[in-house]
Symmetry: C2
DNA sequence: GATTTTTCATTTGTCAGACATTTAATTGTC
DNA sequence: GACAATTAAATGTCTGACAAATGAAAAATC
């Protein structure tokens, strides 16, 4: 593709080779890679170069290393949490670095979130509805800082997407919700805007409870529109300063 | 200074420190990091350790390095393509390593994909509709291998999500579609199943053309159900073997 | 004989120093 | 002023060494 290999860059090449072995199933979860010395021999490079390659893979949570006899590099079992954390880091950076308008990011986030409404209304559990009501209670406390309000907001929406009872969907949606947090943290929430948001959160829970998909989607759409106006007022205030 | 954990792991610690500097905005896109020798001095470690830390960051596309005088490590501008490639790798591995049923993965994928239908019907362009029709033509060629058919399928769905005209949404959805490719590649597409899929693709394009959201969603729902039956027949065939 | 302790080999983590290669700025030459 | 050679700075790679961790085998002890 874009790898011209004018300068081979041995450690990157070796990392790519091992990554392919893992992604394409030639190395399975738990498998032990050859020792650094053996890998160096096999690829005809020094141990330092092999180590750089292994560190690249470790940064992607593809391998984990253990010290000592019978230690070494092992193909890592990628958990949902690790995967979500990685996805959130990448997405956060993407949003932060690309001069994306708050409106575009918000539109994407809520479009994605609406993809769970039908399944969530069908499968919501009492436990998750309880969790959502708990977060609503927390958000009603006026002494909450803006950061804490945002964090509770994230927890509320994560419970919402978990209602769909599909962990793959939860992974994708939770990652996109988390990635928005730095942008949301720019907003100063007044008592009035908090009340408005909490009302909409209540509408979402009530809608899920009644398995009323349409009302959940309406509440989410209203929430999206309201969040965008809040974001725009922040930008306007900044420009006018 | 020295944060002593159980096992310090210097290169990981240094990578974390620099990563925070980037994610939290103390280092901006394009900024040059100190040279490896300077970083080694600053952190009181050897150059090899610094290099391992930098390779970890490079693996996450957070930095890029340039050789020569006035070269060095620079904070990388994370592009949509890089971010999507990373997300797809992570998601693919997650799906491959967690004994996820084909049905659950498929359900998540199509739930996500439906999140673009309303925007796509509103904003679809002639160019993207043309691209989709082009892929449909390709898919109608019976001499196509299963892998090539899958690749064209991915291209078709990427054009579909691009219709929404929201690059953030495209990034998330394209990543999730790509992540499914290894699972889709397990399926052997008969002439009959290919015809069925192509028909549904045509229905999607026609629906977008007429800005008929409901018909696009119906076609996607049918495609989801059909894909799941195809996947299940593969699993059944395997079990019976 | 069973249990505890010691030794030992293996492997990763880190360091120091060296040389090769790349690259842009500088200098020298015409 | 244009072009070629030099130089300095930086990454890329190699070599060899030692430290630290760790499980297994061997030895010592009861």
């Amino acid at each position: 593709m874009k790898n011209q290999t004018a300068t081979p860059n041995l450690s990157a090449t070796i990392a790519d080779a091992i990554r392919s072995d893992i992604v394409e199933g030639r190395l399975l979860v738990g498998d032990r890679l050859p020792s650094e010395a053996e890998l160096a021999d096999q690829h005809g490079v020094s141990r330092a170069t092999v180590r750089e390659a292994l560190k690249r893979l470790a940064a992607q949570s593809l391998i984990r290393t253990e010290r000592g006899a019978f230690g070494g590099a092992f193909v890592n079992h990628l958990s949902y949490d690790e995967a979500r954390a990685q996805q959130a880091t990448t997405s956060t950076l993407l949003l932060g670095m690309n001069a994306i308008s708050f409106q575009v990011a918000c539109e994407a986030r809520y479009a994605l979130e609406r993809s769970c409404t039908a399944l969530a209304a069908e499968r919501r559990t009492a436990a998750l509805l309880g969790k959502m009501r708990e977060e609503i209670d927390r958000q009603s406390d006026p002494s909450l800082t803006d950061e804490a309000f945002c964090a509770s907001d994230v927890a509320f929406h994560r419970a919402l997407v978990d209602c769909a009872g599909n962990e793959v969907l939860s992974y994708h949606l939770a990652g996109s919700v988390e990635a928005m947090q730095p942008l949301m943290n720019m907003i100063t929430f007044t008592a009035r805007s908090r009340a408005e948001i909490v009302d909409l959160h209540r509408a979402i829970v009530a809608g899920l409870d009644r398995r009323d998909v349409a009302s959940v989607e309406r509440a989410l759409a209203t929430l999206e529109a309201y969040t965008i106006t809040l974001g725009q007022s922040v930008l306007k205030a900044r420009a006018g300063r």
